[in-house]
Symmetry: C2
């Protein structure tokens, strides 16, 4: 017999557990039973904190989306040339992805079966669209190449950035974070070729 | 009552169905029952063609891996500067990914729970390693930047390339294929910045 743990969770600490389980089993494959087992508290204790697993998903992807949209409000994303703003946004997106790794991972895996998932996909598209607009402006200003279609370039750049969730694991020292951020910015803007 | 279709499958046409189901449900989540339903033939008919779902997985990922490793034997992957060879390999990798889309998609989603999956992961790592060696040689020859660590650069480049499976769908005309291939080569080698 398993002994239920005393419920010392807050909605935030419960969220940490839920996001781990969602990322391991997939959101669709996670039941309240799985969450209850992982948290070591009863299902009714979980319902004391949240209305159900969809609320946990909404809180989790909101945290990732707030981090990402917050970037667009930063000063360096609003002043300077479009290319400078774009570089700031790319750099900060990688930083937010690494700082909020489990939340961004979950956001990137959302598929669209529930209202919350569809809302999250819509917000992601909106973020990509805002970045694509910056890229378009930078191309118009002549600082970004015009021979790759803007939407395609945005997809490929996010493809590189988002792939980081597949292998990056924090080492607690922060030196790896810095190396990854610099590598992405160098490759995205200058490419592999020397003299770029 | 469903009427079983007359079994006119060959191992190859059965593979097409199996790969579609594996990509939809995940390999772990696919049972022989699912394959039987999708193919419209009985489980024993499937066993007439193959020993089980793991054989189907092996055939499918082999097709993707043969396509990828075949690139490394092509003349342009073996002559010229390392940077030229690398560019050929990147270009052809995108082409093979698009030509063998369902097979490469499956390969990229393999997780390592069975012997076949672990073998596939090992072969993928070997391919990545071969590309990393080319990148290292190109950096030594001075044609590729030396300020991004080789393994990290390889991961990021494959991150961009592999992300194509998430959104690319063939239109049958081939014009989109060419645009994507050119965009990847331009961004990977020259980056977004003009004058690169």
């Amino acid at each position: 017999m398993t002994t239920a743990k005393r419920d010392t969770y807050t909605p935030d600490t419960l969220l940490t557990v839920a996001v781990r389980v969602f990322n391991e089993r997939g959101y669709d494959g996670t039941s309240m039973e799985h969450l209850s087992k992982a948290a070591g508290i009863s299902k009714s204790s979980i319902y004391h904190h949240v209305s159900g697993k969809e609320e946990l998903l909404r809180r989790a992807v909101s945290r990732a989306l707030d981090g990402l949209f917050g970037i667009l409000d930063e000063e360096h994303a609003r002043v300077g040339t479009a290319a400078e703003q774009l570089e700031h946004v790319v750099r900060r997106t990688v930083e937010v992805l690494m700082a909020e790794l489990p939340y961004v991972t979950l956001l990137l895996r959302v598929r669209g079966n529930t209202g919350t998932e569809r809302w999250a996909l819509e917000r992601r598209r909106e973020f990509d669209h805002r970045v694509a607009e910056l890229l378009r402006a930078a191309a118009a200003e002549g600082d970004v190449r015009g021979d790759v279609e803007v939407r395609l370039a945005t997809r490929l750049v996010f493809g590189m950035v988002n792939s980081i969730v597949e292998w990056y694991r924090p080492d607690g020292r922060g030196s790896a974070e810095r190396e990854v951020v610099d590598a992405v910015v160098r490759l995205v803007f200058g490419g592999l070729r020397t003299g770029g």
